[in-house]
Chain length 468, copies 2
């Protein structure tokens, strides 16, 4: 099926108001039908995995999947110039893909109810396809993921989005996934754990804790709804979100004019930071990481901060029983990601932070206004982090959403972070701290199309923004 | 001075037709006034430099400037999956900057007649400023480059362009420079080796061999002349280049509509290549590089191909005498960089190649249609490289320009490459070989604004395109 005006088709789907009760019930039933057991075990009990004491890393016997490595980080930025940490090394690019088709004129996404061992509630809504490069490149394979052939046989006409997107720079070493959306033909079969939902429905479901998984959120964040000047579209007459703040967000997503900072200014801002700062990352054995303690079943920081590396045995029983072992990352606390927006010259702007993270591909990426994944935001002195106090003391009417979302359940053990979007009062000063810059939603969406500009935490907050 | 419409100001300057005879005479005189001697010497004679036999690299005593390292490259692309080579490692970002100001309503660039030891003709036109990060960050320093303070005191209003641009991926390990253009105020002093030239004049001078240096060409390549739809501008009436092909090139630079491939399609093309191919680069000592021979005064390939590492003693005498030693890269032969363009649906499109080079920041960058810097194009079998025969047998009326240009004279010893731009006849098939894609000049110019998309060879060809 050829979608003629891709951006407009996405927009129409995002503005769909169909209720989500039946979808919630469907996930609930999927969750009841499954038993998941995740038990912590010693590293030496991890079948098919080996803690190589000589190399100082944890890897799979086949050399595939991923490894847990140690790194020493040196940077010219901030107060802490050097630190050590474990990191997930997963160099192979994976595929996160959605099939979409028009049903009654509205684009629907083929969503999978997928079990992941690390998820708090096990079953969450995931993309149609999660595949490894090996899955993708092999011509024939005994056990291929469902719908893989649609992605393999994609043509120029059916590819709506195809982007290489970064993942958590504090936990992954330069990991990127291929985020792809493909239009399917009408007669596509829908398997048991799959269902069609509109973008509006998915955005509604993101207003609920832990329903839409991280992989779905990152793929949806790559969607561009179009670039309009004031003359081309009269927002208030064409689209009629009920609440004022939703129409403000929609306008910020669609307007290519009236931005406080030009694209040139944004480039200069990030060029300056990248030119004047270094990020040097060197692999070192896990056993010699400064301030980290390795025991038979854990690698943890001496202050019990940040995260731990653990080993788990997973058993999933549904119609068939699956059993495997793997290392996982267990966070030390719940993190916080928040965007603060402000009306500037009649257009909503987001306070974007340029953030250096050790696993970044290109030193800095644009991050949310507040991002505290590596330390507890509840313990952090409120005045030590820009905007933290502002976010935590926001009035109810300023909060667009405030939900708990899970990180990727295949690598992270019960990691949930609080996601908040706040529209500031006029009393918030327009002047920003160092390393912050104002962008419209349209500018963020456009930068997302290019490699290594918008980080995953920012993208996932953006994906959750409701327009209706 | 605040330039109101930056893109239009650049365009107006590019369309300036002022003659260049006096500029050529000026460079000629600058060249006569200087004596440059470059003598090859043994590595052990390189004062302040050391060939560290244990680490297997050549470095400066201070650890600054650059080093010559050995690397082992593994890639999944092409017939040769693994190779070793020496490479220039220069991690610190340098500054390449132009000051501009309006003279009689036309933007002029402050150009320096700069001596570089590697240049065939020693003096070439360079940017106003070439500075190291140390120059830039230090508050006060005994000997600072001229005009540095203008760049240090630049404000949001005066920065017209500020980009991090890659350099030769086959010779430099992830090297990038900050390319910056700043508007100066009216009363700026012009020192002896400096002069004001319009962009049109600089483009005219690029039609002559070895006059405009590589640093100038890369900075000018970052200029965007604006994005216009068909309604917004009537090219033929506003701008009147004399020759048809120049008006075709101008239209390709300015038109944001009518592109054969959408931006989405270009992203998908490069995402596919980056997702399915690996580039692994590991440092190894120079002494163990496979197929490379280390002698007391050279590191060369066993087939005498590619390039050599040599040591030189440089003596420049002008008003004062300067003398220093350094390693340099000497090419084995003259290379060839060519773009082939074709009229598609009334708009000129460029055949762009996605090229993997070992020093690339992000695996692939977009390169010219033909790029043979690492082997002799005269020895290469013509049918082994797409478009090589087409370029070499082009008719005179198809050739927009065909000049010899120097690579950076501070690192490369007498390296010159042939730069060609060809507008193909209608008989050239529209179908492209694998890893090639059609782009308009406007698309290339826009991609140049983002990090790590357009490689330096492509950018430098683009910079040389004359519009009048």
């Amino acid at each position: 099926m050829v979608i003629k005006n891709v951006n407009l088709a996405f927009l129409k789907s995002a503005l769909d108001k169909t209720e989500v009760n039946s979808a919630l019930e469907w996930i609930n039933n999927q969750n009841k039908a499954v038993n998941v057991s995740v038990k912590k075990v010693d590293f030496e009990k991890l079948e098919k995995w080996k803690f190589d004491q000589k190399k100082g890393c944890i890897g799979h016997d086949t050399g595939s999947f991923f490894s847990i490595d140690g790194i020493r980080v040196n940077t010219t930025l901030g107060k802490v110039g050097q630190w050590d940490q474990p990191i997930i090394n997963q160099p192979e690019v994976g595929f996160l893909g959605f099939l979409v088709k028009e049903i009654n004129g509205v684009l629907h996404f083929l969503v999978q109810a997928k079990i992941e061992p690390g998820n708090v509630n096990f079953v969450q809504l995931s993309p149609t396809l999660q595949a490894t490069r090996s899955n993708f490149q092999q011509a024939h394979n005994g056990k291929q993921p469902k719908y893989l052939e649609y992605f393999k046989n994609a043509t120029e006409e059916t590819v709506l989005i195809d982007q290489l997107q970064s993942e958590q720079g504090a936990r992954f070493l330069k990991k990127r996934n291929r985020n792809i959306i493909i239009s399917a033909n009408d007669n596509i079969e829908v398997y048991e754990n799959f269902t069609w939902l509109t973008l509006g429905q998915l955005k509604s479901l993101m207003q609920v804790d832990n329903i839409v998984n991280m992989d779905t959120r990152t793929v949806l964040s790559g969607i561009l709804y179009g670039n309009y000047n004031k003359k081309a579209i009269n927002f208030s007459s064409v689209f009629t979100p009920q609440e004022t703040y939703k129409s403000m967000l929609l306008k910020s997503a669609l307007s290519s004019e009236g931005c406080f900072n030009s694209l040139n200014r944004i480039f200069s801002f990030i060029t300056d930071l990248k030119s004047n700062n270094d990020l040097l990352v060197k692999k070192i054995p896990l056993n010699v990481l400064k301030d980290w303690i390795v025991t038979k079943d854990e690698i943890y920081h001496k202050d019990n901060d940040y995260f731990k590396i653990i080993g788990v045995e997973v058993e999933i029983s549904n119609r068939e029983v699956l059993n495997w072992y793997q290392p996982m990352v267990e966070p030390a606390q719940e993190g916080l990601c928040a965007f603060v927006c402000k009306n500037i010259n009649g257009l909503l702007h987001f306070a974007v932070q340029a953030k250096l993270e050790c696993g970044n591909h290109d030193i800095f990426e644009f991050a949310p206004t507040v991002q505290t994944l590596t330390g507890s935001y509840k313990k952090t002195p409120k005045d030590s982090l820009p905007f933290l106090e502002y976010v935590l003391s926001a009035k109810k009417e300023q909060i667009v959403y405030d939900t708990i979302q899970s990180e990727e359940g295949g690598r992270f053990f019960k990691e949930q972070n609080r996601n908040i979007l706040i529209i500031a009062d006029d009393d918030l000063p327009q002047e920003l701290p160092e390393n912050f810059i104002w962008m419209t939603l349209n500018q963020i969406n456009n930068l997302t199309q290019y490699n290594n500009y918008i980080n995953i935490q920012a993208r996932n907050l953006i994906a959750s923004i409701p327009f209706v």
